[in-house]
């Protein structure tokens, strides 16, 4: 009986949900771009050409088909940088969620499963985490340790586990108190068995919803950190960094910030659409 993470009927309903389809398309396309980036980019995203700086995109006046989305302030091809940027956003999103998911789920399941003092400690940890201003701490750490892609992932992973813990804790509690789990206890099964056979499979879908929310948040935070100059270091083409580098030109050529910004917005929207569809399917309540 346990372990039915995605019953067939629900899966089919998911495929008829337009939000899910749009979200899946956006995220899927981004993932494909990220993986295939080195083979599909028209130019080297790091190649500087000072003779062709801030050339507008092909669809605007003054643009040419040579650079479909134009070039940046150092004459690098914007489309190529944008595609490489998808790599960074996806990488940050996925790795951060894995890190924070492991931390948060472990804490939450422990608290929900054992209750008592253990739970008090977990709740205390969550409360403390929530009171810490994440962006500021991430910036400070990056400034102290020198920023790098790995550091950003690590810092965000260590900061964004709170919602995982909250949801894992409450769902574990619910499942622990279900009649059939209580019956399993009485039948003399081990804690490990209850944990791996009853609890984890049943909280998995709830955690999947949280994972999408946190992935969206991680992508946005990375962009913000990079925008402030303390995230992914140049010359890596993070979308946040692209906006930051281009903002001196935005008053004359607004497209320089519009293009990477739209990319960021669309990807995060896609991830959130996926999460919403999953939540509707599950009936998970995450109204926070």
């Amino acid at each position: 009986m346990s372990g039915a993470v995605l019953p067939v009927g629900r899966g089919a309903r998911l495929l008829r949900n337009p939000g899910f389809l749009v979200g899946a398309f956006i995220v899927g396309a981004c993932a494909v771009l990220a993986v295939l980036a080195p083979w599909i980019v028209p130019y080297d995203p790091f190649a500087i050409d000072l003779n062709r700086r801030v050339v507008p995109p092909a669809f605007m006046e003054g643009g040419s088909l040579q650079n479909l989305l134009g070039t940046d302030q150092l004459g690098r091809d914007y489309l190529s940088r944008l595609i490489y940027g998808a790599r960074i956003s996806m990488l940050i999103g996925v790795l951060t969620v894995i890190t924070s998911g492991i931390i948060g789920t472990t804490l939450g399941v422990l608290g929900g499963f054992y209750g008592g003092r253990v739970d008090d400690a977990v709740v205390f940890a969550i409360t403390t985490r929530l009171s810490i201003p994440a962006v500021l701490v991430a910036l400070a750490v990056a400034a102290l340790r020198g920023s790098s892609l790995m550091l950003v992932i690590l810092v965000l992973g260590l900061l964004l586990w709170d919602r995982f813990a909250v949801v894992a804790r409450s769902t574990t509690m619910q499942i622990r108190n279900l009649d059939y789990v209580a019956a399993a206890w009485c039948a003399g099964v081990s804690r490990w068995w209850v944990l791996t056979r009853e609890v984890l499979p049943n909280i998995a879908t709830h955690l999947a919803v949280v994972a999408t929310l946190e992935m969206a948040l991680a992508i946005l935070l990375e962009a913000a950190l990079s925008f402030l100059g303390l995230g992914v270091p140049a010359p890596l083409p993070s979308w946040g960094l692209m906006i930051s580098e281009a903002k001196d030109y935005m008053f004359f050529s607004p497209w320089v910030i519009v293009i990477p910004g739209m990319a960021l917005f669309v990807l995060v929207l896609g991830v959130n659409l996926l999460g919403d569809a999953l939540r509707d399917m599950m009936g998970t309540d995450l109204s926070r």
């Binding site: 205390f124 409360t127 403390t128 929530l130 009171s131 810490i132 201003p133 994440a134 962006v135 500021l136 701490v137 910036l139 400070a140 750490v141 400034a143 102290l144 340790r145 969206a216 946005l220 962009a223 913000a224 925008f227 402030l228 100059g229 303390l230 946040g240 906006i243 903002k247 935005m250 008053f251 607004p254 910030i257 519009v258 910004g261 960021l264 917005f265 669309v266 995060v268 929207l269 959130n272 659409l273 919403d276 109204s287 926070r288």
Partner: protein, 305 residues
């Protein structure tokens, strides 16, 4: 009731102490703080001097308790860069951040409460779907980018609003809107779900049976009950907004404590960073406590139960 609040208060104090400790550890994360302060061009002698002056040559636990003892009295030491007491710096910048936070929260409430109510009243229709689309868009909007776009459109092209600074109330409009965007999605969703629940309840049927007007049914009887969770989330959101204001203050060059923190980070002025982390954390802790109290005021079942 009283026991509940004593417990909440004790937890809050413990959380505050933990954050104090974390804030201390944060600056010791780099290994040798003296080298970070001295900067890349300093000689070994310079670093040694800094160690002496700031007491960084003492054992770590001595430094910790010394710092803790001062911090709980509101003494965060001196700024390396600004040549001023950190407490003074924060006090002088606080009003900008608080104003921004309150303006942001105000805009967020003005937008999300009617939207949430509207979506609940028209549940399942295109209006409802449009509102959830607005929430989704708000959730996906990178705030710093929205800030830049607004600057280009309203600051430069239309020329309606000032682009940066803190001179007048107009300076707070764009940053406030941007900050509000981060709180609108969750507040709208919460208002909607709370209203749907309230409108389906028996007391709404009673209110209708009493012949009350539609407005009174929606607002006085429906929203009054839906508002209880919204208030506590709004307080928590204000905490998050103050914490997140660093990005927006930087974009719009608003000289609040977020901007101060950013300046200090780039100048390796760690006593200030430490203090801002602490102040923001304490604000958040205070706000969640206030939210609990406010809940008790709003919900007679908590107050008199």
């Amino acid at each position: 009731m009283l026991r509940f609040f004593l417990r909440r208060f004790t937890v809050a104090v413990l959380v505050a102490l933990t954050v104090l400790t974390l804030a201390f550890l944060l600056t010791r994360l780099s290994g040798d703080l003296a080298i970070s302060i001295a900067g890349p061009n300093a000689t070994a002698a310079d670093v040694e001097t800094i160690r002496q002056v700031y007491g960084l040559n003492r054992p770590l636990h001595v430094q910790y308790f010394d710092w803790l003892g001062r911090a709980v009295q509101g003494d965060f030491g001196d700024s390396f860069f600004f040549r001023d007491r950190v407490a003074n710096l924060i006090a002088s910048r606080m009003s900008v951040t608080l104003t921004l936070g309150l303006v942001g929260l105000g805009i967020a409430l003005v937008v999300s409460l009617p939207l949430g109510i509207l979506a609940a009243v028209r549940e399942g229709t295109w209006v409802d779907r449009a509102v959830s689309l607005v929430a989704l868009i708000g959730q996906a909007m990178p705030s710093f980018w929205l800030g830049l776009v607004l600057m280009v459109v309203f600051g430069l092209q239309l020329g309606w609003l000032p682009i940066s600074g803190t001179g007048s109330w107009e300076h707070y409009v764009m940053p406030g809107v941007v900050l509000a965007f981060s709180a609108i999605p969750s507040l709208t969703r919460l208002t909607r779900s709370g209203m749907i629940e309230a409108l389906a309840s028996d007391y709404i049927r009673t209110a209708r049976a009493k012949g009350l007007s539609r407005l009174s049914i929606l607002v006085k009887h429906g929203f009054r009950n839906a508002a209880i969770p919204v208030v506590s989330i709004a307080a928590v959101q204000l905490g998050f907004m103050l914490g997140g204001s660093i990005v927006i203050e930087t974009v719009f060059a608003l000289h609040g404590i977020g901007y101060l923190a950013w300046e200090s980070i780039s100048k390796n002025d760690f006593p200030v960073v430490q203090a801002v982390v602490l102040v923001l954390a304490l604000l958040y802790i205070g706000l969640t406590l206030a939210a609990d109290l406010l809940n008790a005021v709003l919900d007679p079942r908590l107050r008199t139960g």
